[in-house]
């Protein structure tokens, strides 16, 4: 069975993902490795622990801030923004 393609937007740009994937997976597998800047040093961050422990991967999902990209599952029309 082929999982359904899903379209999300990342910072306004459309991005094709696969149903069942996490937001982090959708971004990283499309070559987007960083989507957040640190507060102090302004350094780029993306996935690190992959399992919801490190909070490096925070994104805004449909207006909800500070969501862990490695845990949130993509769905059609989801709007993802970096922070």
């Amino acid at each position: 069975m082929n999982p359904q393609p899903v379209t999300i937007t990342f910072d306004g740009r459309p991005l094709t993902a696969t149903a069942g994937q996490s937001v982090g997976a959708a971004l990283a597998s499309q070559g987007v490795t960083a989507w957040r800047s640190t507060r102090k040093g302004g350094k780029p961050r993306g996935l690190f622990c992959g399992i919801g422990v490190c909070f490096d991967c925070l994104v805004t999902v449909d207006g909800e801030t500070n969501q862990r990209a490695c845990l949130v599952e993509v769905c059609e029309g989801m709007e993802v923004e970096g922070s």
């Binding site: 069975m1 999982p3 359904q4 696969t18 149903a19 069942g20 994937q21 996490s22 982090g24 997976a25 990283a28 597998s29 490795t33 960083a34 640190t38 102090k40 040093g41 350094k43 780029p44 961050r45 993306g46 996935l47 690190f48 622990c49 992959g50 399992i51 919801g52 422990v53 490190c54 909070f55 490096d56 925070l58 999902v61 449909d62 909800e64 500070n66 969501q67 862990r68 490695c70 845990l71 949130v72 599952e73």
Partner: protein
């Protein structure tokens, strides 16, 4: 987020936190012994870290026709436990609460939960139970190294989890480094999914295994796994370099390469052995695992330092902790792999279902055997004593608050901050979003000073977190 949270209360005989190998086994054993059980798990579906699989809502077949191969050792054990878990749910003996994270546990026992994913629509529930089995597992242990905060650097287990859950790779060209047998399945998983593993760098040496072979031989399945990996590494031409480490991750704005070196038995870099790998896009680090001790510690269980230097809970032959009615199973009693976690879960669940049983219990021989094997693995794959020498003063240690190694050693040497808690107050290391889960072990080592290992007090201080998970203000307010 500020809405008042409406949450239901569920009262059961036995509450289980975690639906990984230990938690599934505990829930099944307790339910089959006649108890009413509630299982709270942060994951969206059962399996925990080891049996993580594609979303069943999208790939239902992933739930049953997964080959019992290298990707999922013990998959048949999972299918058996899962069938019994589902049957107990249908019979109304198990209430399964996925997608919820326990952020506070009160003695007696009451569990407060919050959705793991805010947008999931999962409604939080409060669970009260007269017995509690904690099976929260663990996460990859990390040692900082220059450049490890660059995007593209991941936890080794995180890469494995990414592949298992999403069916895609987080990059194309990988270097995996750290120590322990777990680096093998990570590299194998990448290669089988079509990624290129440029090298696996193991800080220890195979000769370190030799004294421990007798213990390993008590667990025949492990020898078999070893042979499978050897064949797989040969087939995919994965170089396995022992006594080797990554000394620096290179790149601007993201990981692009690594510098590596050979080390001696203490982990000191051997001059003239440096080399570089370029054109790398993912670097995976794993230095064993850190058990998630915040819930056990918050409930006051007796702890000890295990052979791998981790803080773990002390249990008796029924898996009961020093707190009556509170049982522990899986990684929180000592990192030992999924098979041991299942055995402990079965023992804990059965005991929690029959707390008044006076029948003397003998620890199952299989548990003893697997513990001995785990012990041997920990001794063969220690965290190299000289690892702090790999850091430069401006190496980031606390990723959240961006605290450097220099700031930590200065707080230690000039302000006398020698344990994780005082380091936290002087430097903010461990004060950020992850509450020290990622840097806690490393910061405690640096605080202890050269050649010293952190003691249980320092590690327990680091595991003492006000909340086991970040929660919305509304949920705090709803408490009284």
């Amino acid at each position: 987020m500020s809405d008042a949270v409406s949450s239901s209360t569920i009262s059961v005989d036995v509450a289980v936190v975690g639906a990984g190998p230990a938690g599934l086994a505990a829930a099944v054993a307790a339910a089959e012994a006649g108890a009413r059980v509630a299982v709270v798990d942060a994951g969206a579906q059962p399996g925990g870290q080891f049996w993580r699989h594609a979303r069943e809502t999208v790939q239902p077949e992933a739930a049953d026709d997964q080959p019992d191969g290298h990707g999922h050792h013990g998959w048949s054990t999972y299918l058996d436990l899962r069938a019994r878990f589902d049957a107990a749910q249908r019979a109304g003996r198990i209430t399964y609460l996925p997608g919820l994270q326990v952020w506070m546990a009160e003695p007696g026992f009451t569990l407060h939960t919050t959705p793991a994913v805010a947008s999931s629509g999962t409604v939080p529930a409060t669970v009260t139970a007269s017995r509690l089995v904690l099976c929260p597992g663990g996460y990859d242990r990390q040692l900082p190294v220059p450049g490890w905060e660059l995007p593209g650097v991941m936890a080794a287990g995180g890469i494995q989890a990414f592949i298992k859950a999403n069916g895609v790779l987080p990059g194309k060209r990988f270097v995996i480094a750290g120590t322990g047998p777990f680096l093998l399945p990570v590299a194998a998983g990448i290669a089988e999914a079509g990624g290129k593993v440029l090298a696996v760098l193991e800080s220890s040496a195979p000769s370190a295994w030799l004294p421990h072979l007798a213990a390993a031989s008590g667990v025949p399945g492990k020898a078999l796994e070893g042979a499978e990996y050897a064949a797989l590494f040969a087939r995919h031409r994965i170089p396995y370099r022992t006594r080797s480490i990554v000394t620096e991750v290179l790149g601007s704005g993201r990981a692009e390469g690594v510098r590596t070196a050979k080390v001696d038995a203490e982990g000191r870099v051997r001059p003239g052995t440096g080399r570089a790998y370029t054109d790398v896009d993912v670097v995976g680090f794993g230095w064993g695992f850190t058990p998630q001790m915040e819930l056990p510690v918050s409930l006051g269980v007796d702890t000890r330092i295990d052979a791998d230097g981790s803080l773990v809970g002390v249990v008796d032959e029924r898996q009961q902790s020093s707190v009556p009615g509170l049982f522990l199973a899986g990684e929180v009693t000592g990192v030992g792999g999924a098979t041991l976690a299942v055995l402990e879960g079965l023992a804990a669940g059965a005991a929690a279902a029959r707390p008044d049983s006076t029948t003397p219990v003998k620890q199952p021989a299989a548990i003893t055997r697997h513990r001995r094997f785990a012990q041997a693995m920990h001794q063969a794959h220690p965290v190299p004593a000289a690892w702090p020498d790999w850091l430069t003063p401006d190496t980031t240690v606390c990723r959240c608050e961006e605290v450097t190694a220099g700031e930590i050693t200065e707080a230690r040497d000039n302000l006398g901050a020698r344990d994780a808690r005082s380091l936290k107050s002087f430097t903010r290391a461990g004060m950020g979003w992850c509450q020290g889960r990622v840097c806690g072990f490393a910061a405690a080592c640096l605080g202890a000073g050269p050649g010293e290992a952190p003691d249980a007090g320092s590690l327990a201080g680091s595991a003492k977190r006000p909340l086991a998970a970040p929660v919305a203000i509304g949920e705090l307010a709803a408490l009284d």
